[in-house]
């Protein structure tokens, strides 16, 4: 009985396992039968905070840059991924909707990570739009109605909690600004061929809470950023992975920027400049440049941990450096995700995510 269970552990990785040839985590494969994002979306809230089963992939992605009372920087990640095997929902066991949770906690010395897998439809994992609740096992990202004022967006007051073998966290998030919509009103183009996703964020959270570390509890405060994105094929076949940043600048402005790395060595870039008041300006391919300045050996591969990020249109020229170079998410789909500090034309803190840096050999061993 037990061996049968172990035999099946490998199933997940076979279902949606690391893609060796077609982009990161199978995101470059074709999307037959799934709905494709189209321009000029009309979002309806709170319904669109919930899942969209007709689209293949979707995520609720929270990153928080935090500081302890002694000034020590910390980073926290909480993510729920939805992955549909077929473009529809289903009753009970029969649903083709699978869920994966990732939690990370970064200190200057250590990076903790854990993950959870579950199928939808049976109450173990899922997202409900109203009242907002995203959950997998005992991890949750839920609205706090007692802190919401009348007419405020459902995501404006949230509680988040997760735990792994050696860490846990519980944070309160309160938004001080509105939702912002990337690209053309939330239609975010991801390649020259037109691959796109629906993408909006809540980047204005003020955070307070407690981290549980092996050394004991740590009271923290800081800022957080929630990304909502769904699509069926966000990567082009010739794209290998991406480098993505979300920056909280000391001026109060925010920057979201990414570059998608192509097999021919070229990149496709995109950026969103968000003012303190929540006005977003989208910049198309080429406006943003990201230059790797320094790499580190991370989990047996070279990963850039210091970047030069330039957006001349907003006089931004900063160096973004990892607080902990070893912020490796050693999960079924492994990637780098951790807090960064910002220096240069602007100061501040932010989060950096990098995917697709594994070599063929290492991605083989990364698969369970």
């Amino acid at each position: 009985m037990v061996r049968v269970g172990l035999l099946l552990v490998c199933l997940w990785s076979l279902c949606v396992g690391p893609a060796h040839t077609q982009g990161f985590a199978g995101l470059g494969t074709s999307a037959d039968g799934f709905a494709a994002p189209t321009p000029d979306p009309v979002f309806v809230f709170p319904a669109d905070h919930g899942p969209h089963p007709a689209y293949r992939i979707e995520w609720w992605y929270l990153t928080a840059v935090l500081e302890g009372e002694d000034g020590t920087p910390y980073g926290v990640q909480w993510t729920l991924f939805r992955n549909a095997l077929e473009p529809h929902d289903g009753e009970g066991w029969q649903t083709p909707q699978l869920w994966m949770g990732h939690a990370g906690l970064t200190t200057p010395e250590t990076h903790y990570a854990d993950e959870r897998l579950a199928r939808g439809g049976v109450g173990v994992a899922g997202v409900e739009a109203a009242p907002f609740s995203a959950f997998i096992d005992e991890w949750s990202l839920e609205s706090a109605p007692e802190r919401l004022s009348e007419g405020e967006d459902a995501l404006s007051a949230l509680n988040v909690r997760a735990r792994g073998d050696a860490f846990a966290y519980a944070l309160e998030l309160n938004a001080t600004g509105p939702l912002v919509f990337h690209g053309a009103d939330g239609f975010s183009v991801k390649s020259a061929e037109g691959q796109a996703s629906y993408y909006y964020s809540q980047p204005f959270y003020e955070v307070e809470g407690v981290l549980e570390l092996p050394s004991g509890p740590v009271t923290v405060s800081g800022q957080a950023w929630l990304d909502r994105e769904y699509s069926s094929q966000p990567l082009s076949e010739n794209q290998l992975g991406w480098d993505w940043v979300s920056l909280h600048l000391d001026s109060g402005a925010k920057l979201m920027g990414f570059q998608l790395r192509q097999t021919d060595g070229e990149v496709y870039t995109s950026a969103s400049w968000i003012t303190e008041q929540g006005v977003l300006t989208a910049f198309e391919d080429g406006a943003l440049t990201m230059t790797a300045l320094e790499t580190a050996r991370v989990a047996g591969r070279a990963v850039p941990v210091r970047w030069r990020v330039q957006l001349p249109a907003r006089d931004l020229d900063v160096e973004v450096e990892a607080i902990n170079a070893q912020s490796w998410m050693d999960t079924r789909f492994a990637y780098w995700e951790g807090p960064v500090r910002i220096r240069g034309s602007h100061g501040g803190r932010g989060y950096l995510e990098m995917t697709g840096y594994e070599t063929d050999a290492s991605s083989e061993t990364a698969a369970p």
């Binding site: 009985m1 037990v2 061996r3 049968v4 269970g5 172990l6 035999l7 099946l8 552990v9 490998c10 199933l11 997940w12 076979l14 279902c15 949606v16 095997l85 077929e86 009970g92 066991w93 029969q94 083709p96 699978l98 959870r116 897998l117 579950a118 199928r119 049976v122 109450g123 173990v124 959950f135 096992d137 005992e138 735990r163 073998d165 369970p368």
Partner: protein, 803 residues
């Protein structure tokens, strides 16, 4: 200076490449056998550790509902509370006239551990989405094939038992029309800390905790000790070769050593050179041996894995990985072996008088005193072997007994052979015959190491072979007795149990309840069974010792039977009261053999069991006596009528076939190691004969000069090898039998708690004798051929140069 000394000493090997090869091959073979056994053991242990880590410390909690089914929201809530829990559906897939056990699992929650044991089969997303995929053993796939049209696609999986079909829980729920109901929740109890207790979260569910890993490691522990002992024996045999080669090399380099000393080389430089040389050999041979051992272990591991899986349910990966613990131990033993073999040479080199004769001697002259000393040591070791069972107990003591027995036999062998040859010399008449015997005696010291190795290999072969065959004979007979009922039925709960019993009463010749309760038996934790008064027990049950009226007393509730292991552990006598927990006792009326069970067990009358253990009796199992021809039909009728668990009905024939196949595989490894050890011994013989041949010319030349042709001499050489092999085999026979006895009556009792009767298999011995003679003749063939082809000039030169 040490460089010069070393170069001088090493130049010897350039002149004698054959001797060099012998030394390296011997040490390599010894290391290889040792390493392969260590590699197998290390791999198996790593697999257990991995498995027990994946299971969370080796225990699993399963939750079931007393009323039968559980709503899946109970499982979902456990997960939402942080428990590492997975749901399971069990049911029957009834297809026309055949019934398959269907198991539905939820792969995403089956284990959050990333540990993989064994190879996984590729299933893909199809497994999780409608229509799903069914996994089954290849034989079962064929059975399902007839119904393919109505079923999801079927895929073969070698990891599943026959008759079982595994699928995703969604597919199982659909095929069995279960809706939201599940049968079982399996929980990894050690996964996370600080969770709300299960008793609070799911008070309505029954909770069963299985901790089988401890038992597995205890049982497999003796299996591995067995293998280790074998590995060590092989190494000892190999070491004899090395010892012989090193000793010979020393004798041949006597003149070189004397010259070096005479030229002023200090003793310590010579000693250091010898040690460096030995160390270098150890490194080279160790590397070769570790590589060879890896090959042997890779070849044997699938068998071992099958054995451990079948015998103990322990899962071991069939693939060998390179682990530092075994290859380091391989090198260590090679170095230890080389240094050990060199020790005597070094000592002699250090104490050699400066002006000692540079003349090569037959490197250990035969002397009566030496033989007496050896015989004395041998007798002392035999006495020690006889004493050990009285002084200590445990598996280790058992192996200590074997070690002293084998060592004593090996050391005593030359003395014994010399004695036999002495007597023979007095009995024969004729010059050639007398010379032949005297010359054989003269050669004994040079050959004794090889003969000891041969004897050890033969004795191990006889001993282990006898043990295995005795075990097989006993085991088969025992299975026939013990598995007297045609069918064994397990029901889900008491209500179903009663219904099944009524159903069977009307259709079978007899229904024998196999009800049980957990209880202390004579102070050991175990299980008590209740039986009805039936001829099946009276005629078949395998009793070792019993009162004549044992079954009457059991039926009357006035006595108890216990299994052999609890009888031995508690040291009970017939008629003595046996405590059965909570102060109750019954007199012991008999003892039965119970192979394969590590725990205590007792049998009472059924009424007595129900009275004594009213609240805790499990009343779920039955043995069914029925005409064997009707067993299949009854099985199908049972499955059609009742919703029995997956392995609810088992027929006698398949249990027997399975048990015997497990048994055969268990000893396949032993057989392979036996053959390898024998080959090493044959090589030792060959090495000794080849090196002796070059030294013996001075002894042969006079005989040749007296008129015996070289061909005649060569025939005598072959005859000598044959005679020595036969004598060695004769000496090995009693040693092997004592070895078998020790394994069956001492080691088995200590390791498992049961003693097996010794059966003799003379045909096997004769086959072994033929093998030994063949090995000896092959070993002697090359030196004999060289003798025939030797030009007369070389015989003549002996007189010119040496005498």
């Amino acid at each position: 200076m040490i460089g010069t000394a070393l170069a001088t000493l090493v130049s010897h090997w350039r002149r004698k490449p054959g001797q060099l090869a012998t030394l390296v091959i011997g040490l390599s073979l010894a290391t290889a056998l040792w390493t392969s056994v260590q590699a197998i053991n290390a791999e198996a242990r790593a697999s257990y550790d991995q498995a027990s880590a994946a299971l969370g410390g080796g225990s699993v909690i399963s939750l079931t509902a007393p009323e039968g089914r559980i709503h899946r929201s109970v499982w979902a809530q456990l997960r939402r509370d942080g428990w590492d829990a997975s749901p399971r559906i069990e049911g029957e897939l009834v297809l026309a006239d055949t019934v398959f056990a269907l198991i539905g699992v939820e792969p995403l929650s089956a284990s959050t551990s990333q540990a993989m044991v064994g190879g996984g089969e590729g299933v893909g997303p199809a497994f999780l989405t409608a229509p799903g995929v069914l996994l089954a053993a290849p034989e079962t796939v064929e059975g399902l094939a007839a119904h393919q049209a109505d079923l999801p696609p079927v895929q073969a999986s070698a990891q599943l038992p026959r008759g079982q079909v595994l699928t995703d829980i969604a597919t199982a729920a659909r095929l069995l029309d279960r809706g939201d109901q599940i049968d079982q929740i399996v929980i990894n109890p050690d996964a996370r800390e600080g969770l709300t207790p299960l008793a609070v979260l799911a008070p309505q569910l029954d909770r069963v905790e299985t901790t089988d890993t401890g038992e597995v490691s205890r049982l497999t522990g003796s299996f591995h000790l067995n293998l280790s002992a074998f590995g060590f024996l092989s190494f000892a045999v190999g070491l004899f070769i090395v010892y012989a080669a090193v000793g010979l090399a020393f004798e041949q380099r006597r003149s070189t050593l004397r010259t070096l000393r005479a030229l002023g080389t200090p003793v310590r430089v010579i000693v250091a050179s010898l040690l460096i040389e030995a160390f270098a050999f150890a490194l080279v041979a160790g590397a070769v041996g570790v590589l060879l051992g890896y090959g042997v272990a890779s070849a044997l591991l699938p068998d071992v894995a099958a054995t451990l899986r079948g015998l103990y349910g322990a899962s071991v990966s069939g693939e060998l990985s390179v682990r530092p613990d075994w290859w380091l131990s391989g090198f260590a033993i090679a170095i230890l072996g080389a240094l050990g073999a060199t020790a005597q040479s070094v000592r002699r080199a250090a104490t050699m008088p400066l002006l000692a004769s540079g003349q090569m001697r037959a490197w250990a002259l035969a002397s009566t005193r030496r033989y007496l000393l050896q015989a004395g040591i041998a007798l002392a070791l035999f006495a020690l072997a006889a004493l050990i069972p009285q002084l200590a107990s445990g598996v280790l003591a058992g192996f200590a007994l074997l070690a002293s027995l084998l060592l004593g036999a090996a050391i005593g062998l030359p003395a014994l052979l010399a004695g036999v040859l002495n007597i023979a010399t007095r009995l024969v008449r004729g010059a050639v015959a007398e010379w032949f015997l005297a010359d054989t005696r003269q050669q004994l010291p040079g050959l004794s190491m090889a003969l000891m190795a041969l004897m050890l290999a033969l004795a191990a072969n006889i001993g282990v072979g006898t043990m295995v065959s005795s075990f097989r004979l006993t085991f088969e007979g025992w299975l026939d007795q013990r598995l007297a009922a045609e069918l064994y039925v397990t029901t889900r709960d008491d209500a179903q149990s009663d219904a099944v019993r009524d159903f069977l009463e009307a259709r079978a010749d007899a229904v024998l309840p196999i009800w049980s309760a957990d209880s202390d038996i004579a102070g050991q934790p175990g299980e008590v069974f209740g039986v009805v008064d039936h001829a099946t027990y009276r005629e078949n049950w395998p009793l070792i010792t019993a009162r004549p009226d044992a079954w009457d007393q059991i039926a009357a509730g006035e006595g108890v039977l216990v299994n052999e292991q609890s009888w031995r552990r508690a040291g009970l006598a017939l008629g003595e009261p046996v405590s059965l927990g909570e102060g109750a006792t019954l007199p012991l009326v008999g003892v039965y053999s119970d192979y394969g069970n590590p725990n205590a067990q007792a049998i009472l009358g059924l009424d007595g069991l129900v009275d004594r253990y009213a609240g805790t009796v499990s009343r779920l199992r039955y043995g069914v006596r029925v005409d064997p021809d009707e067993a299949q039909a009854l099985t199908e009728a049972l499955r059609a009528q009742f919703d029995l668990p997956a392995d609810g009905v088992i027929d006698q024939a398949s249990v027997k076939a399975f048990s015997l196949s497990v048994f055969e595989r268990t000893f396949a490894v032993t057989g392979a190691l036996n053959v390898l050890t024998l080959s090493v011994a044959a090589f030792a013989m060959f090495a000794s004969l080849t090196t002796l041949a070059s030294m013996r010319l001075p002894q042969l030349a006079p005989v040749w000069a007296l008129g015996l042709t070289a061909a005649h001499l060569a025939r005598l050489e072959l005859l000598r090898a044959g005679v020595l092999a036969v004598l060695t085999w004769l000496a090995a026979l009693p040693v092997g039998l004592v070895l078998a006895w020790a394994l069956l009556a001492v080691v088995n009792v200590e390791a498992f708690g049961w003693r097996l009767p010794l059966h003799l298999f003379p045909m096997d011995w004769l086959r072994l004798a033929a093998l030994a003679i063949l090995a000896a003749l092959i070993a002697a063939l090359l030196p004999a051929r060289a003798l025939v082809r030797k030009p007369p000039r070389e015989f003549l030169q002996i007189f010119a140069q040496e005498r």
